[in-house]
Amino acid sequence: MQTPKFAGKLARDFGKRAGRSLAKQVHLPYVGPVGLWVILFVVVPLGFIIYFSFVTIGPFGKIIPTFTLKNYQTAMAAGYGRILLRSFLFAAVTNVLCLLIGYPLAYWIVKYGGKWETLLLLLIILPSWTNYLIRLYAVKLIIGSSGLINSALLNLGLISSPLHILYTPYAVILGLVHVWLPFMVLPIYASLKGLDPSLFEASADLGAAPFKTFSTVTLPLTRGGILAGTILVFIPALGEWLVPLMLGGGKVMLAGSLVQHFFIKLGNAPMGSTIATFLIAAILLVVYVCFKLGGRETLERVI
């Protein structure tokens, strides 16, 4: 009769302990569902991308689960390293252009927007909420060989044959800036908006010329916003595939184009995963550097 008693005590003890720890887990009903969702549909799929970059598939599409670096060697031998570098370069150029255009715009909205501020901001956000496939198509209507720009210039007699703008690297960069610019403007706007105007007044009163105030006070204080914008522009630009497809016409391939090519066209998951893993690594690097340089503010502005 010893055993049941003991078992009962054990069960009671266990129940108590479980009860206590459950009582402490009051947050679980709230964060549990998202936690599970993140693990199942975010972390695990990304993990499998990395896993697949180290295996190969056999004749009937079966995975051969032995660790190999073959995919990486193939990628390098096939010259995909150049495409990855090009993606990095294009993303960097896009980012710099977005910053050069977006900063003055955000500055203008904050300083001179007045009662129109909300509307002006809305006009920046709105295009980014419309389908970007359609926006790229519309860009084509403008820069294409029989597009608006060319027909206008031809009609004016300024050129005798259409300019080749579409399907060049310049068109791709134009498209990238067009699509991702709003994501640079918004965090910089938020950052500028959060500054205390008395800082500028103090700087001016102490004799700094307006430009000096800008370069020594305004710009350094909006670093968080700039870096947040960089995360929001650089990363998607790095993984872009639709812009090179639509405006580069398949002649200008980027890393995203390769991922799409291998996964959708060829069904070659290991090669696609290898390129995607390169992208993930590059992105982690960019995010890490930006957070390191910008601290908490950057994180808050990204969100």
Partner: protein, 262 residues
């Protein structure tokens, strides 16, 4: 007071050019959607013909129905997930908070192709989820819930929570407190999140393209398939709808906020 403003003359010029740069393609698209030109690429006189055609186009109707269904389910599911998580993150301290935040940030900072490819790989190689409604819904909820979470979390900081404590002190059960106090307090944030997620899900192309499989079509996928046959006025008309949908959502949100404020 001395002046500290710079660029008073050049900034407006830059601003006008940027707005033009952002809006010109969209405006051209809208104008061409009313043009009689049968390719929809130049102006040949006003017509509503293409909109009438659109209403009769079975392919468009199917795609539209699917897009709206997906967007509505995504909007509800993502908002429920996001609201609960935001509440948990705001109200409690627990182990793994940072991990949860970072994990929720991942779908925002991962490029769409990578998210799309990862989910496709997961569906086809790991957990057999049929490509179609199930795969598209899971994907849309995955890239939408962080939006709800962070929008609501941001707004929670500006809410006066004493009412909730009072309710608990007066003996209301957890559920009653949620129903009578917490939800009404969160309602503006929830509305904001819903209004953001609907157009977000409705207009997604890349991720849906990866996970939709053969046969199922949302409106952006339909547009893409039309583009492969060259320029047609259908694209202009659908494009105009895509511009109008978030515009209406934003105006509605603005209107609702003003009514609450009044």
């Amino acid at each position: 007071m001395k002046s500290w403003h710079i660029g008073g003359k050049t900034l407006p010029v830059i601003a006008v050019l940027v707005y033009l740069f952002l809006w010109l393609p969209v405006i051209i698209l809208i104008i061409f959607s009313f043009s009689a030109d049968k390719f929809g690429i130049r102006w040949e006189g006003f017509t509503l013909h293409w909109y009438a055609n659109l209403l009769q186009n079975v392919g468009v109707r199917h795609a539209l129905r699917m897009s709206v269904t997906v967007a509505i389910i995504t909007m509800i599911a993502a908002t429920v997930l996001g609201t609960l998580a935001a509440y948990g993150l705001y109200k409690y301290k627990f182990r793994g908070m940072g991990a949860l935040r970072m994990g929720s940030l991942l779908p925002i900072v991962t490029p769409w192709v990578v998210t799309g490819a990862a989910l496709l790989l997961f569906y086809t190689r790991v957990l057999p989820i049929p490509l179609g409604y199930p795969s598209i819904l899971i994907a849309h909820i995955t890239f939408s819930f962080p939006l709800a979470l962070f929008v609501i979390l941001g707004r929670m900081q500006r809410i006066d929570w004493t009412l909730e404590e009072a309710s608990a002190d007066l003996g209301a059960s957890r559920l009653t407190t949620w129903r009578k106090i917490t939800l009404p307090l969160l309602l503006p944030a929830i509305i904001a999140s819903v209004m953001l997620i609907f157009p977000w899900s409705f207009s997604d192309f890349t991720i849906t393209f990866f996970v939709s499989g053969i046969g199922t079509t949302t409106l952006p996928i339909y547009v893409y398939s039309q583009m492969r046959y060259g320029a047609t006025p259908v694209i202009n008309t659908i494009g105009t709808i895509f511009v109008a949908a978030p515009l209406i959502a934003m105006l509605l949100m603005n209107f609702l906020q003003r009514r609450r404020a009044a």
